[in-house]
């Protein structure tokens, strides 16, 4: 833990104030990101994945959303207390973002050229010509044919996949240290998804860009991420290297997620198992484990006490929070046993509720 991480998020708390009360969107999220690493974040929609990312760069919708606790450090520099102008200089140049829907994420009335050049000029004192040359390089790098003439196009003249390539070019324009890709391929056709993901992996590897890849599609993470955080109801409930997590999921929710995706190797006999129920309403502050209501492994303790993220092997030695040797942690009082994973239900009597 002595060496500094590129990005350190500690106990991040985000609240949204609405007419119906405060929404507890993020409830104490902590994670680290090492240089060059790809961290996958998985979870259902509304679990706080996107909000966490927006909070990191200070883009929570104002005035409803607010960071109410915790810290975000980029190379040791605290971001949550930065002035707007200092934060602006971080955005785009040190931490860049790609969003879900390339149809709506590019400004429809501005040419691609303007949108690329303004990004570069927002952070570098360069002439328009130099920025333009750079823009052409970038478009070439993301595989846009005829970049010179395509610069003059408007977003609606591109296909969805091409638009997302432009978004990637824009995000990488200033060689950021961290790239946050929020569901970058969800809105694309399946065939295009693979191409865009390939491109993203190649470019971030070449540049050594650390990436946070948010998706609800665990299949995407399997091929892309070094480590995975599983989020539920505004908290990380399980974390580990991708291999550990997929091979040996311990949190009932992770097990449920894994079992609800189709697998080509047919291990679950091609049968999809949905997770019953819905995520909790985040208006009320969670008491106990937030997954309690939907959990087949729940115990009485889960109703009143909130489980902490602890090493699954009982916690000998220091917890490693990044890199290939990261400790596998889960927040669960009654973790799923290996033999129960395939069954998708508790086999021991000690488990709580049956449904």
């Amino acid at each position: 833990m002595s060496d500094q991480h590129l990005l350190e998020v500690r106990d991040l708390v985000v609240r949204f104030r609405t007419h119906d009360g405060a929404v507890h969107a993020v409830n104490g999220v902590s994670f680290d990101l090492a240089a060059g690493e790809t961290l996958g974040v998985a979870g259902e929609s509304g679990c706080g994945k996107s909000v966490t990312n927006l909070a990191i760069v200070g883009l929570l919708p104002k005035p409803a959303g607010r960071v109410e606790g915790g810290s975000v450090k980029l190379e040791g520099r605290e971001l949550t207390t930065l002035k707007e102008e200092e934060l602006r200089q971080v955005r785009g140049s040190e931490i860049a973002m790609i969003f879900q829907d390339p149809m709506t994420s590019l400004n429809p009335v501005l040419r691609i050229e303007e949108q690329l050049i303004e990004t570069i000029q927002a952070h570098r004192e360069v002439t328009k010509e130099a920025a333009r040359t750079r823009a052409i390089e970038l478009l070439t790098a993301v595989g846009v044919a005829n970049p010179e003439s395509r610069l003059r196009s408007y977003p609606h003249e591109f296909s969805g996949g091409m638009r997302q390539r432009v978004m990637i070019a824009m995000a990488l324009a200033l060689e950021p240290r961290v790239l946050i890709a929020d569901e970058p391929t969800t809105a694309l056709d399946v065939t295009i998804q693979a191409q865009v993901l390939d491109l993203l992996r190649r470019l971030t590897e070449e540049r050594g860009t650390a990436t946070i890849l948010v998706t609800h599609d665990l299949g995407v993470l399997a091929g892309m991420a070094d480590r995975v955080n599983v989020m539920y109801a505004g908290a990380v409930i399980e974390s580990g290297t991708t291999d550990d997590l997929f091979a040996n999921p311990r949190h009932p929710y992770t097990v449920g997620l894994l079992r609800s995706i189709p697998r080509l190797d047919g291990e679950t006999g091609g049968k999809l198992v949905p997770i019953e129920g819905r995520p909790p309403d985040l208006i009320d502050a969670p008491v106990g484990c937030s997954f309690y209501a939907r959990c087949a492994w729940r115990t009485d303790r889960c109703a009143t006490e909130t489980p902490a993220l602890l090493p699954i092997d009982g916690g000998k030695g220091p917890i490693v929070t990044s890199g290939p040797a990261a400790t596998h942690v889960a927040a669960c009082f009654n973790p799923v046993a290996p033999e129960e994973v395939a069954e998708g239900r508790p086999l021991r009597r000690s488990g709580g509720a049956t449904r």
Binding site: L59, G92, N107, E118, H123
Partner: protein, 334 residues
């Protein structure tokens, strides 16, 4: 683009034909004998005969319409029954006053409405937003002539700050070639008179501009709020653009679009409102002329003014739509 304009022009033809039928019918449904209805107390046997001849009242209806249509297209818009002055000649001397007033009102409503709308949008839900919404509510709820009278009383009678009648000091002597006094006084090199014209223009412009001001404020507010929530605005911020750039380039470039359309639609209301405003401020324009024409039962003047105002409205909105297409690349290429 060219094809778009041609298509819009072609679409206006049925409307123009409908308009001509309506206005043709107008003169003919006036109650009673057309001679009595149109000429009223100005009728003499000779005038009646001339009118019947002029309108072709003894011909079959469709022939009358064709002849009205041909005359109108050739630019003959009839004449006053009071003094036999041709419509077009008199209209041209009156119209500059109405243009000046309309432009004054447009400048006021756009110049104040858009900043107010942006301000309200930036402070959604705050007291300033509430105040601006309240002011715009008042703007659409107060009749032009009531506001006009109130302005006359407050700024003219009580405070005495601004003139409340006419377009320029009645004693002013200079060469008014275009009839648009703002331009003429400048060309005549009379800065003092220019200032005088501006002072005369202020109160009528505010009165006439109040409704468009309210509408433009509302639509700007709504549009800015909507655009500010778009994904591409979040993208712009995530790129680290300055807030001013985000606002001016990413928000406003899109928020303009609905605003331009609404501004175009206000022109009809402004021309109509000019009738009332010119009456309140004794303003020498087409509006007051129409009111006089109503009093004198000079219906051909009313008829042709309606025609010309409707055509102006159609032309302005054609221009606005073309401007909209220029601002919005998506339409341009469709």
């Amino acid at each position: 683009m060219g094809r778009y304009i041609v298509r819009r022009l072609l679409a206006a033809i049925p409307v123009l034909i409908g308009l001509s039928i309506l206005l043709f019918a107008y003169i003919r449904i006036l109650p009673g004998d057309p001679c009595v209805a149109i000429l009223g107390q100005h009728r003499t046997p000779e005038a009646c005969a001339a009118l019947r001849e002029n309108l072709g009242l003894d011909l079959p209806l469709w022939q009358q319409y064709i002849s009205y249509l041909l005359k109108t297209i050739s630019g003959d818009l009839g004449a006053s029954v009071v003094n036999s002055q041709p419509f077009v000649a008199e209209f041209l001397t009156r119209f500059p006053g109405t243009i000046e007033l309309t432009i004054g009102a447009l400048i006021f409503s756009i110049g104040v409405g858009i900043p107010l709308g942006r301000l309200a949008a930036r402070k959604v839900g705050g007291w300033l937003d509430g105040l601006i919404t309240g002011v715009s509510l008042f703007g659409v709820s107060i009749p032009v002539f009531v506001l006009g009278l109130a302005l006359v009383v407050i700024f003219g009678v009580i405070l005495g700050w601004l003139p409340t009648q006419g377009r320029i000091d009645a004693r002013a002597r200079f060469d008014a070639t275009s009839g648009i006094l703002l331009v003429d006084t400048l060309f005549a090199g009379r800065l003092d008179l220019f200032v005088d014209v501006v002072r005369h223009l202020i109160l009528p412009s505010i009165a006439l501009g109040s409704i468009p001001l309210a509408i433009i404020t509302r639509i700007t507010r709504a549009s800015v709020i909507e655009v500010a929530n778009e994904d591409y605005v979040r993208t712009a911020r995530s790129k680290g653009l300055k807030e001013k750039t985000v606002d001016n380039r990413h928000v406003m470039r899109n928020a303009w679009l609905p605003v331009t359309t609404v501004v175009g639609l206000q022109v009809g209301g402004l021309l109509g409102g000019a009738v009332l405003t010119e009456t309140v401020f004794v303003w020498n324009g087409v509006g007051r002329w129409v009111v006089d024409a109503i009093e004198n039962h000079d219906y051909p003047i009313v008829q042709s003014t309606i025609l010309v105002f409707a055509v102006i409205f159609l032309i302005v909105n054609l221009i606005v739509d073309v401007g909209y297409a220029l601002l919005n690349p998506k339409i341009r290429y469709q």
